[in-house]
């Protein structure tokens, strides 16, 4: 529980941070809230020689409504996601999910950007971002680029980020008014990562599902967007056979590890159960 030695840097601008990361090379890590990185350092699973702390960069924080989208700065804390009135009004599933992350102390420090950039399939935000069709804004030595959340996650701790790139913000299209949503997470205790979790965003018209998007947390090497399961629901009345079919399709794409949360087969089944419950709750919330 004692980390190795490292140097600490606190640049004041994104440009400085990018330059610093380029000059320090592979042994430098970005530090945001530290609540994923520092535990890894304490167990020496990570031993970066340099930490580049983003907390000195002023314009990385904040939640803004921009047309039909909401843009969230990477250094916005998980607590701020819960406190935001704009998010509550437009994308309430973000606060619902945030409340299920870790515990209050961690959420005061842990950032939204760190949660999505970390690449741990246990993080709750990534599957939600995939379900919501979010786009990540990334800055590197060659300037800025956008990456779709659904294209971002390649493996455990392996993402589309190149070394030296910083995720600066996330743009999320606001779902239609009256949409239904739910994030269902099964965990062993407060502060635990999901045994399995499901994010659901749906719209209904006249009792028929007009759109559906499903994300799954911690049941594979990466967060999952269950596109096939989502598609199976559209046009149905969310009757039992349709939901069963979607569940089967969702379970089919899971590939969880067996760990202390339970064996793989359990976690797959729990992904299905969480999805069923999330669908029920999402549907009850639709205003159509």
């Amino acid at each position: 529980m004692i980390p190795g030695a490292f140097d600490y840097h606190r640049p004041a601008t994104i440009e400085d941070a990018v330059t610093l990361l380029a000059s320090l090379g592979e042994e430098a890590s970005i530090l945001a809230g530290g609540h994923s990185l520092i535990p890894l350092m304490k167990t020496r699973l990570a031993s970066p020689d340099h930490l580049v702390d983003l907390s000195g960069i002023g314009n990385l924080k904040g939640i803004t409504v921009a047309g039909g989208d909401i843009v969230i700065g990477a250094m916005t804390t998980q607590f701020e996601l819960i406190a935001s009135e704009d998010l509550a009004r437009h994308i309430p599933i973000i606060a619902e999910t945030s409340r299920l992350i870790a515990d209050p102390q961690i959420r005061y420090k842990g950032t939204f950007g760190g949660n999505v950039a970390n690449g741990d399939p246990g993080n709750d935000m990534p599957a939600l971002m995939m379900a919501l069709g979010a786009t990540y804004r990334v800055h590197g030595p060659d300037g800025g680029r956008d990456v779709a959340a659904r294209e971002f996650y390649h493996g455990a701790y392996y993402t589309a980020l190149e070394h030296g790139e910083i995720l600066t913000s996330v743009r999320i299209p606001v779902p239609p008014a009256g949409h239904g949503y739910a994030y269902e997470k099964l965990k062993r205790k407060v502060g635990d990562y999901a045994t399995a979790a499901a994010a659901v965003v749906i719209t209904m018209a006249g009792g028929t599902c007009t759109s559906a998007s499903i994300g799954l947390t911690n049941v594979s090497e990466t967060p999952l967007w269950a596109s096939e399961a989502s598609a199976l629901l559209v046009g149905t009345r969310l009757d039992k056979p349709s939901v069963d079919a979607a569940l089967a399709a969702a379970e089919a794409i899971t590939n969880p590890a067996s760990d202390m949360r339970g064996p793989a087969e359990y976690r797959t089944k729990m992904a299905g159960i969480m999805l069923r419950r999330a669908l029920e709750r999402a549907r009850s919330r639709t205003e159509a």
């Binding site: 529980m1 004692i2 980390p3 190795g4 030695a5 167990t43 020496r44 515990d103 099964l186 062993r188 205790k189 407060v190 502060g191 635990d192 990562y193 045994t195 760990d259 202390m260 949360r261 339970g262 064996p263 359990y266 089944k269 729990m270 159960i273």
Partner: protein, 809 residues
């Protein structure tokens, strides 16, 4: 107001001012604990202090081919690296265990469990020490390992303990196999077997009380400081039994005991974890003796969970024989005890399986037999009493699960079966079939009160409805009702059967009244959060009439405290609490003589009145304790020694036997396996109640740990002997969110042999709680034919039960 009322009122006011026994005095220690102002071992900073850290084995079983410390020693800031080769010439590469075995301090030829200590790096700071552990190059040759204790004694099992391979007689008799530690038997085998052969009904089940860990929030730690000039060693550490540690250090280091000063400062929880002696203590001592400067060792969380003292790991084949009507006739138990790589159980020396023979429980079982085989495996050593007296949680789990299984087989209500078999109030003192003499109890009264309060009948009716609804497919929830009626055995113990390394298990109190009437009292026990500073003062306050606020309680410094055996096994109140009362009474007797002299009457003409002696029939003629204290130093009676102090070493005539009736109502979601405790009711009878608030706090804490153990807490190993989940991410330590609401209640059946009738309560809730939770879970599934469901009852395991029973769509 008439005279009598005025007298009564005055007496009540004076009594209240004392804050003596029976009142909810606030915990005096909490002022510092809740403000972060406690002073723990890791708070110690001594000039020139160095820091130690361990190189640990990645293997569960491997031969050490070589250890190269040169790279570590070359790191700036590293002062020394100790290996077994350094300790061997001092005879310190092994240390004795409390169970009569030896335990490696630093591994010499082999490592026997993952994370075993291999080398100790000493450096100028904690970070460098940790860095240097990565620079010690150890070459291992992996060996096949034993994780399953049932494989330990197979003919072709790898021999684990080569150091004692040829010693076929251990501390507790002959060994049947090189991986066998002991066989311990008690009871009448022939008579028991005969009853089983002819019984109407029998049940037999393998009940596993799985391996877990006490996990106090403060890990184990020590600071050793050797003064080369005086030849004296001061050792601060997380010690539940500081005096025993001093004796052990003296015996293994050869330093004279009077030159060893052991100090246990504030301790952040023990629960049995801090009874034993650990490699870290020894290495900090050796480091300081060799280097002449203080050396600190602080265990991290993973080290704590994976190396120092596991608990449980008892595999209990449990049988009951009964009549058709449900009268239990006999009990037969065989335990396979997994002790890990060394037998480092913290039990009284003659009790290799602790007090497992309390397993006949609260029932009048005429005949019984218990056999325990201890075996070695490639796991961490320990087997400590985790918030219980020695192996009592295991014993109570066995009997309380067994009676439920019997009730199920008989088609009888589990509460009714218990009541039918209870030892009756008039049978006390009761001689159990396995050798204990229960001091006092009134089980029927307690059970009735509990059942009435919880509304047992209504709960069973609700359960019947729920079961029908479940069968009809109207709900996916199962309701379980858990019962546990436990009898503990605590307060070790009488010298005739209890000692630790030959030292009888007495305990002690020394009380000094100062001239101004304030008091310092010291005990041989050591609080780890139990509130001793509060409760011992209450005993003294009531006994000698000095306000508890004027009494300071001090423990943990072996130079000043009288010798005692420490705090574990709920022994502080039964043993040191008794010593405190007896010492106080000695003072009171002397005070009476002084008062008689002051009042110029005969001693026999005086009577005690809350905080004073007064002349019988002349209530206005009195001397308060405060006045008497002054006189003791100022004008004692002729021929009397001045001063007012006393010491008592109390050797208890018997153990105490607290008991209780617990009920749990649980709702289980069969689709996820998630269990929710709807209600938990705990009725405790711990005899005389010193501080009801502290009792309640102890019950809350013990129940929470019971909840943890039953519902998910475990130390698991994979087949290669890798320890799994040894961090708080996985190891289940419930937070306030998961912890159920506790309803507490009590009856009072004083111990007849204890000076104040108190029995001890710190561990009852744990002991009684574990089977209660497990019974609730088992009860939920019983009507579906689940059979016995092993702990821990975490969600995935319960989901598996549902799978097996085809409950999932």
């Amino acid at each position: 107001m008439n005279d009598q009322t005025r007298i009564d009122q005055d007496r009540a006011e004076r009594t209240e001012k004392l804050q003596g026994m029976g009142c909810k005095r606030k915990r005096v220690e909490d002022i510092r604990f809740t403000q972060g102002k406690g002073s723990y071992v890791d708070d110690l900073k001594l000039p020139g202090m160095l820091f130690g850290d361990f190189v640990r084995s990645p293997h569960a079983h491997a031969r050490i081919k070589s250890i190269d410390t040169s790279r570590a020693k070359a790191l700036p800031g590293v002062i020394a690296v100790l290996t077994a080769a350094d300790l061997k010439p001092l005879g310190l590469h092994y240390m004795p265990t409390l169970a009569g075995d030896v335990q490696a301090v630093l591994a010499e030829e082999k490592v026997l469990f993952q994370n075993q200590e291999v080398a100790f790096v000493i450096a100028v700071d904690r970070y460098i020490a940790s860095d240097a552990t990565e620079l010690v190059d150890v070459e291992y040759e992996a060996l096949p390992c034993i994780v399953d204790p049932f494989k330990s004694m197979l003919p072709d099992a790898p021999i684990l303990r080569e150091d004692i391979q040829d010693k076929m007689t251990g501390a507790h008799g002959p060994r049947k196999h090189p991986n066998h530690i002991f066989e311990w038997m008690i009871g009448d085998k022939e008579a028991t077997d005969a009853v089983f052969a002819n019984a109407d009904v029998t049940i037999k089940e393998m009940l596993v009380d799985h391996r877990t860990h006490p996990s106090p929030l403060e890990t184990c730690q020590s600071v050793a400081s050797f003064d080369k000039v005086k030849g004296e060693l001061t050792l601060w550490g997380t010690f539940q039994a500081p005096h025993v540690i001093r004796t052990v250090v003296s015996l293994i280091s050869g330093l004279p005991e009077h030159k060893i000063h052991v100090i246990a400062p504030d301790i952040g929880g023990g629960f049995g974890n801090k009874v034993g002696a650990y490699a870290g203590y020894v290495c900090s001592v050796v480091g300081s003796i060799v280097l002449g400067v203080p050396v600190k060792w602080v265990e991290d969380r993973m080290e704590n969970l994976s190396t120092t003292s596991f608990a449980r790991d008892y595999h209990m084949t449990t049988e009951l024989a009964a009549t058709k009507e449900g009268k239990i006739l006999a009990m037969r138990v065989h335990v396979l005890a997994d002790h890990g790589a060394f037998d480092a159980c913290a039990d009284p020396s003659k009790w290799p399986a602790g007090f497992m023979n309390i397993c006949t429980g609260s029932y009048d079982i005429p005949v019984a037999h218990l056999a325990v085989d201890g075996v070695y495996t490639n796991k961490a050593s320990g087997g400590v009493a985790y918030r219980c007296s020695f192996r009592v949680t295991e014993a109570v789990f066995a009997i309380e699960r067994a009676v439920e299984l019997l009730a199920h087989k008989l088609g009888m209500d589990a509460a009714e079966l218990r009541i039918k078999n209870f030892i009756k109030a008039e049978q006390f003192p009761y001689q159990s079939a396995l050798g204990w003499e229960y001091d006092s109890g009134d089980y029927h009264t307690a059970m009735k009160k509990a059942m009435d309060t919880i509304g047992y009948k209504e709960l069973r009716e609700e359960q019947a409805r729920k079961r029908e609804a479940f069968t009809r497919g109207e709900t996916r929830e199962l309701m379980g009702i858990g019962i546990s009626f436990f009898t503990e055995i605590v307060g070790a113990g009488p010298a005739k059967n209890c000692d630790i390394l030959g030292i009888a298990m007495f305990d002690s109190a020394e009380i000094r009244i100062h001239p101004t009437g304030s008091v310092i009292a010291r005990m041989g026990t050591k609080s780890q959060g139990q509130g001793h500073e509060t409760t011992y003062a209450q005993i003294i306050a009531t006994e000698i009439g000095i306000p508890a606020d004027d009494i300071m309680i001090e423990e943990g410094n072996t130079d000043t405290a009288p010798y005692g055996l420490g705090t574990y096994g709920s022994r502080s109140t039964p043993v040191a609490g008794a010593a405190t009362a007896v010492a106080a009474r000695k003072i009171k007797a002397k005070a009476q003589m002084i008062a008689a002299h002051m009042l110029e009457v005969h001693e026999g003409d005086l009577e005690w009145d809350v905080d004073r002696f007064r002349v019988k029939g002349l209530p206005e003629k009195f001397k308060t304790m405060k006045e008497i204290a002054w006189a003791a130093y100022n004008s004692p009676p002729p021929n009397m020694e001045p001063g007012l102090e006393a010491v008592n070493y109390y050797e208890p005539p018997n153990m105490t036997y607290p008991f209780g009736a617990y009920f749990c109502v649980m709702d289980i979601d069969v689709d996820t396996g998630v269990a929710k405790t709807r209600r938990f009711y705990a009725l405790d009878d711990c005899g005389t109640r010193i501080n009801p608030m502290i009792i309640e706090g102890q019950v809350h804490g013990g129940l929470t740990e019971a909840f943890a153990c039953a519902m998910g807490q475990e130390i698991r190993y994979d087949e290669q002997g890798n320890v799994m989940g040894a961090s708080f991410m996985d190891f289940f330590l419930p937070t306030a969110v998961e912890t159920p609401h506790w309803e507490t209640d009590h009856t009072v059946t004083p111990s007849p042999h204890h000076p104040i009738g108190a029995k001890g309560v710190g561990e009852s809730p744990h002991v009684g709680g574990v089977p209660c939770f497990s019974n609730a879970v088992n009860d939920a599934y019983a009507f579906l034919g689940a059979g016995h469901i092993q702990m821990p009852h975490d969600a995935w395991r319960l989901w598996k039960v549902g799978e097996k029973l085809n409950l999932h769509q």
